[in-house]
Symmetry: C2
Subunit: 202 residues, 2 copies
């Protein structure tokens, strides 16, 4: 089975890379689909699941897991539910066949399936430019606000990963291939990455 | 011009990767050639140049460059000569046309030529195994000695890089592509990397 996981810095184009790579390989790409699936199952808002999945959980996790009697307290356990449901959704999607999965620590969660784990990154100027280009006209943030957002999202992703793995988010040792997209069009790199996938699983 | 630089952890197969990649692309690979060229020019032993190039220089550099009257002291200035000559050799080779250059901070030295900079790494077990397989029968080191050697060579390479750049050796941000060779045959990955080179310079 060819499972490719994409971890990525915010603004590096990792999501686009995942989608284009899946298209080039003729296999599905799971990204927002994971969130939608989990939201549906848990009768929750997509936005809510999306926030919990990479942000709130580290606030809740030590409390609910660390206290034996947490269930007796009035603790909101939805974040833990969501994380568990996300893990299950990732495993379920992966077992359906070859695919690309973007984010949500799929590399760690699917370790036993031996995925090819790609990390996508870029320099600060490139990430800023990409975010500016992608933002809808009516949602333009100032440059300092965008920089804060980029830093915050990556911090959340790193914290989310800490729940699952001792390997630090973004450290090259945890991945099989690290792709710097600075100053490059994603679509220019995709044919070569599809070739890399084919060599890897040959 | 297509200049590809290979930086690598000792035992990761970076040298083999550089040679095979050059072969796949039909362009020359410079590795030991740089050392030989500089040895010939400076009337020095190849072994001597090789040692200086990645080991001794950091011991000499602060002394010879930091003291205004160093030349009046009995300081051995050969290491600095060698580093300067290596830089010149790298520039000269690169200006001859498309090539792969292994090691010696070619990525930093040739920055203005916009090379594609690849970093090759692997996990500890893979590096150990590769070193064991490569050692001549009569030069087998014990596992602890090999581990010390691997750590020492990488430490020397990192220190050598510090002479040229503020970017830390091995940090993914300094490279365009980081390739983890753990458990893989180099030759399996080379066609895809050749494809990456072609996409990059397209």
């Amino acid at each position: 089975m060819r499972i490719i996981t994409i971890s990525r810095e915010f603004g590096s184009g990792g999501r686009e890379l995942g989608m284009r790579l899946a298209e080039a390989l003729g296999i599905p790409c799971y990204d927002h689909e994971l969130i939608e699936e989990v939201a549906k199952q848990n009768n929750m808002d997509v936005e809510q699941v999306s926030n919990i999945s990479e942000r709130d959980i580290q606030l809740y996790y030590p409390l609910t897991m660390g206290r034996r009697f947490a269930s007796m307290l009035k603790v909101d356990t939805r974040p833990v539910q969501v994380v568990v449901a996300l893990q299950e959704a990732i495993r379920r999607f992966a077992h359906q066949g070859d695919c690309v999965i973007v984010g949500r620590c799929a590399d760690v969660i699917l370790k036993d399936m031996e995925p090819l784990n790609i990390f996508v990154y870029a320099d600060a100027a490139s990430k800023l430019r990409r975010c500016e280009q992608r933002a809808p006209e009516d949602e333009k943030l100032s440059t300092p606000a965008l920089n804060r957002l980029i830093a915050q999202v990556d911090k959340d992703r790193a914290a989310y990963r800490d729940l699952f793995s001792d390997d630090q988010w973004g450290k090259k040792e945890a991945y099989h291939l690290c792709v710097n997209t600075s100053g490059k069009q994603i679509k220019q790199l995709v044919p070569a990455l599809a070739g890399y996938v084919n060599c890897w699983f040959a």
